[in-house]
């Protein structure tokens, strides 16, 4: 049982933990975020390459799409901000790597934008200088042309100027040091030319040279910023960020997959355990059913055994009382049989010895007397013998003894035949079961059957028989009842003897038979239990305790009542009431 409780508790704990994890997990795992993010990253990449492309165009072609560049920069910033602080805020918060990558990209983006802005500023400046330079060149050219016509003298200045210009642009194109040297030579020549010339074009040329210098330095700055901007490789950073995000996402997916595996495992384990529980429960149930069946069977068996043993007990009670009854009757018959047997033997001896002798003597005397030639002397002698024998017999009292013995024997035989008659009446085997019966007959035959008990315990019977009608009953059962009551009364009086008075009278619808003894009596408790089966006051082995319970049953079968009144050391009264009219059930 403890094992099951622990298992269930463990399962519940695991379930709660997994539930908590799943709630946490479900807030982060969202495939749409990933798709959105991928799209956003792609867009960022597009924007980035567009910016790069535009930068190249701005640097090497004569386009001035500065507004587009600004717009692109704004777009990329806002897109990234959105990604950084809206879409992937939590992910970035959670993943340090992603955070680092985003930071890196953000920093570079800002750096690139600063470079770009500087590039654009310098380039605008460069373009203004370039225009100024072209204007100066044209002004100088026109001045030189006018002078030519006036002086008609070829001037080398214009040629120098042109050469300078060519070298300058070549230098600008390539920014190579040789070109720079050439250009520097040209510039030196121009400056020396001006110094020698007090012409009106001299300030212009000075301005031109200055502008050229300014252009060169500005161009260098433009180039520097362009290179800076281009070199700031936001694309790679973006790739790294994307990679990092992909890793993060994969990790998330893996974790989720792992979690799912755990969940599935948990589910399977739960299911398995539930199945085991169900099986156990089922088996237990089946077991229980079997146990109930077994128990029921056992109880049934026990009940049958009990019933059987109860029947056996009742039977053994019957046998015990029968045995006691038979023993008593055997003794009752044995006593007269003893003296009858002795008497008959004695009478026989008396007859075969004394009386035969007398008979023989008389016979001889008679024969002698009948003789014609009788001898008086012999006859007298024979008569003397007769007289002597007679005298002896008379003295011995043989005749009287014989009479006495035969009288006793007769009495004994009468006793025996009365006992046999009582036995016959008692069992009533030759009569129908229910009939109109004189209760006095039943009592009388019961007394006779119990006579041994009565004598043995020095009990005197007093009968107060009323004038009662015959009633319908089962005499053999009533006899058993009366015998039980009489036997109990005798046993109650065994220590000091006493009187058992039996009273019969008619009272209303009942016939009342009262047995009152002068025995030990009972206290109230014992009297109450008297009719309970197996209740006995006799020592173990001497009574089954069923006698009075059987008596009770017999009275109930006759629709009668049986009551007991008892006072310790005074005696007990058993009152039996039997209905006058109702036949027994």
């Amino acid at each position: 049982m403890k094992k099951y409780t622990i298992t269930v508790l463990f399962l519940i704990a695991a379930g709660v933990y997994l539930g908590y994890l799943s709630i946490k997990q479900s807030t982060t795992i969202d495939e749409s975020v990933y798709l959105e993010t991928s799209k956003s990253v792609r867009f960022l990449k597009t924007l980035d390459s567009s910016i790069n492309l535009l930068l190249f165009k701005l640097n090497y072609e004569k386009v001035s799409a500065y507004t587009t560049l600004d717009q692109l920069n704004d777009s990329i910033s806002s897109e990234f901000d959105e990604l950084r602080f809206e879409a992937l805020f939590e992910e970035i918060e959670r993943s340090p790597d992603l955070d680092a990558k985003a930071e890196d990209f953000g920093d570079n983006l800002v750096a690139k934008q600063i470079s770009t802005e500087q590039f654009v500023e310098q380039q605008k400046k460069l373009r203004a200088l370039d225009k100024k330079l072209n204007r100066l060149y044209r002004d100088i050219q026109s001045l030189v042309s006018a002078a030519k016509t006036e002086e008609a003298e070829p001037n080398t200045l214009v040629e120098d100027l042109l050469e300078t210009k060519i070298n300058f642009y070549l230098f600008l194109e390539t920014l190579s040091p040789e070109r720079k040297d050439l250009l520097d030579d040209n510039l030196t020549a121009l400056v020396s030319n001006i110094a020698n010339n007090e012409n009106e074009e001299a300030p212009l040329i000075q301005d031109y040279v200055d502008t050229l210098s300014a252009i060169i330095s500005t161009k260098q700055l433009v180039q520097k910023h362009f290179e800076e901007a281009v070199a700031t490789s936001t694309t790679e950073r973006l790739d790294a960020f994307e990679q990092s995000y992909a890793n993060f996402h994969n990790e998330q997916i893996n974790a989720s997959k792992k979690f799912r595996t755990v969940l599935i495992t948990y589910g399977s384990v739960l299911l398995a355990i539930l199945i085991i529980f169900a099986y156990l429960l089922r088996r237990q149930y089946a077991n229980l059913e079997q146990q109930v069946k077994d128990r029921t069977k056992k109880i049934g068996e026990a009940y049958n055994e009990l019933k059987e043993s109860q029947e056996q007990l009742i039977q053994s009670e019957k046998m015990a009382s029968l045995g006691e009854m038979v023993a008593g009757i055997a003794h009752e018959i044995n006593t007269p049989l003893g003296y009858i047997n002795g008497n008959v033997n004695t009478v026989q001896t008396n007859i075969t010895t004394d009386l035969d002798e007398l008979n023989v003597a008389i016979g001889m005397a008679y024969k002698e007397a009948r003789k014609a030639d009788r001898d008086a002397a012999k006859l007298s002698q024979l008569f003397t013998t007769v007289l002597r024998v007679y005298q002896r017999i008379e003295n011995d009292g043989v005749i009287n003894e014989n009479k006495e013995l035969l009288k006793d024997s007769n009495h004994g035989l009468h006793e025996i035949s009365q006992l046999v008659q009582s036995l016959k009446n008692f069992s009533r085997l030759d009569r129908q079961a229910t009939e109109k019966v004189d209760i006095h007959d039943c009592i009388e035959s019961s007394i006779k059957i119990a006579s041994h008990h009565i004598k043995q315990n020095s009990v005197e019977i007093e009968k107060h028989y009323g004038d009662i009608p015959n009633i319908g009953c089962t005499p053999s059962k009533l006899n058993q009842l009366f015998l039980n009551v009489i036997t109990n009364a005798c046993q109650a009086m065994k220590t000091k003897g006493g009187v058992l008075s039996i009273t019969t009278q008619e009272g209303g619808e009942f016939l009342e038979i009262t047995f009152t003894d002068q025995g030990e009596g009972m206290d109230e408790d014992t009297a109450q239990k008297m009719f309970d089966p197996f209740f006995t006051t006799k020592p173990i082995g001497e009574g089954t305790g069923l006698g009075m319970s059987i008596s009770y049953k017999i009275v109930k079968e006759h629709n009668g009542k049986i009551e007991v009144k008892s006072t310790p050391n005074v005696g007990t009264s058993i009152v039996i009431q039997l209905p006058l009219n109702t036949a027994s059930t």
Binding site: A330, H331, N334, G338, Y339, I340, N341, G342, N343, E404
Partner: protein, 329 residues
């Protein structure tokens, strides 16, 4: 009325007709006394020397065995017989052990056999019992005697001659129960009595024939009751001074009657016994043994009748081989 040349016989029964019948049988050869109860009988015994008393068992107020136990105590010379209608086990066993009776007579009796038994008893009653009634075990003085005796023995070793005299005695045990043998050994050791232990009738008979010192025979009755009764009967015929104590798991009324009538057993008891009880019995047994031995005539008082059951062939052969039974021609 009383004729001094005739034996005095007392019949006790609560049924007058039984007394009449018995009187008519015996009045010629005996002075017949009758009593209707134990109390009356004791009065007659007090005023007359009664040779034989025959009492019924079932009587109101005083039972036959109670009366005979009293008679045994007060008038040991009087031969005691019990008339019994049907078996009342407890009474019969008590009559043996407390009344030391001569015979049980079954009701209804045959005149011839009762006459024969009473004749034997009457003749035996003339012979001095050889021991005074005071020596006979009565519950009161027996106890004190035993305690005194035991005390003496505990205090000092027995004087040499007495010890020698006692060592002539031997007890024979026949039976298989280890605990009983140990008990008897213990008792006999205290009393300086030799003990022989046997397991079968053959061994027992052999030992008794070979050793005249055996005075008391303790038999554990297990099975073959008939054989044991025959054995006791034959041994008692040949050695009337042999005292027999029979022990059984459960005493039986019919066996008890046979043991008395055919074996004159001294005691018939149910196991287990207490050591003290056993000691008393064995001591009393040897006293009786010595008394009979010293007064050879008193043997008549313990005459046995032939067992009613037929002797088995094996047993007959056994006894013949020991010369206890004559060869039948």
């Amino acid at each position: 009325m009383s004729d001094t040349t005739k034996y005095n016989v007392l019949f006790v029964d609560d049924e007058q007709r039984i007394l009449t019948s018995l009187r008519s049988i015996f009045r010629r050869e005996y002075n017949v006394f009758t009593a209707l109860g134990g109390k009356e009988a004791l009065e007659i015994l007090a005023n007359n020397t009664i040779n034989v008393i025959v009492s019924d068992q079932r009587m109101p107020n005083m039972l036959g065995n109670e009366l005979l136990a009293q008679v045994h105590k007060l008038y040991p010379q009087t031969m005691r017989l019990l008339l019994t209608g049907f078996m009342d086990k407890q009474a019969i066993i008590q009559t043996i052990n407390e009344g030391e009776i001569y015979r049980f007579i079954n009701k209804p009796w045959s005149n011839e056999s009762i006459q024969a038994v009473i004749k034997e008893a009457a003749e035996a009653s003339q012979i001095d019992i050889g021991f005074s009634p005071q020596q006979a075990p009565t519950p009161a003085n027996q106890n004190s005697a035993t305690i005194e005796g035991a005390g003496d023995q505990a205090k000092a070793p027995l004087p040499q001659p007495q010890k020698k005299a006692i060592s002539d005695h031997a007890t024979l045990i026949m039976g298989s129960s280890q605990s009983l043998r140990n008990q008897i050994r213990q008792v006999c050791k205290q009393e300086a009595i030799a003990v022989y232990s046997t397991q079968s009738i053959r061994q027992a008979v052999n030992a008794i024939v070979a050793r005249p010192s055996i005075g008391v025979l303790v038999i554990e009755l297990l099975s073959d009751t008939d054989e044991v009764i025959h054995t006791i009967s034959l041994l008692k015929q040949k050695r009337p001074e042999l005292i027999t104590v029979v022990l059984a798991d459960e005493t039986d009324a019919e066996v008890a009657v046979s043991l008395i009538n055919s074996g004159q057993v001294f005691r018939y008891l149910s196991k287990p016994l207490e050591l003290l009880q056993l000691q008393k019995i064995i001591k009393a047994g040897f006293e009786r043994h010595s008394a009979i031995k010293n007064n050879i005539n008193s043997q008549v008082r313990f005459k046995v009748q032939k067992p009613t059951n037929k002797i088995t062939a094996g047993l007959k052969e056994l006894f013949t081989s020991f010369g206890l039974l004559k060869k039948q021609t």
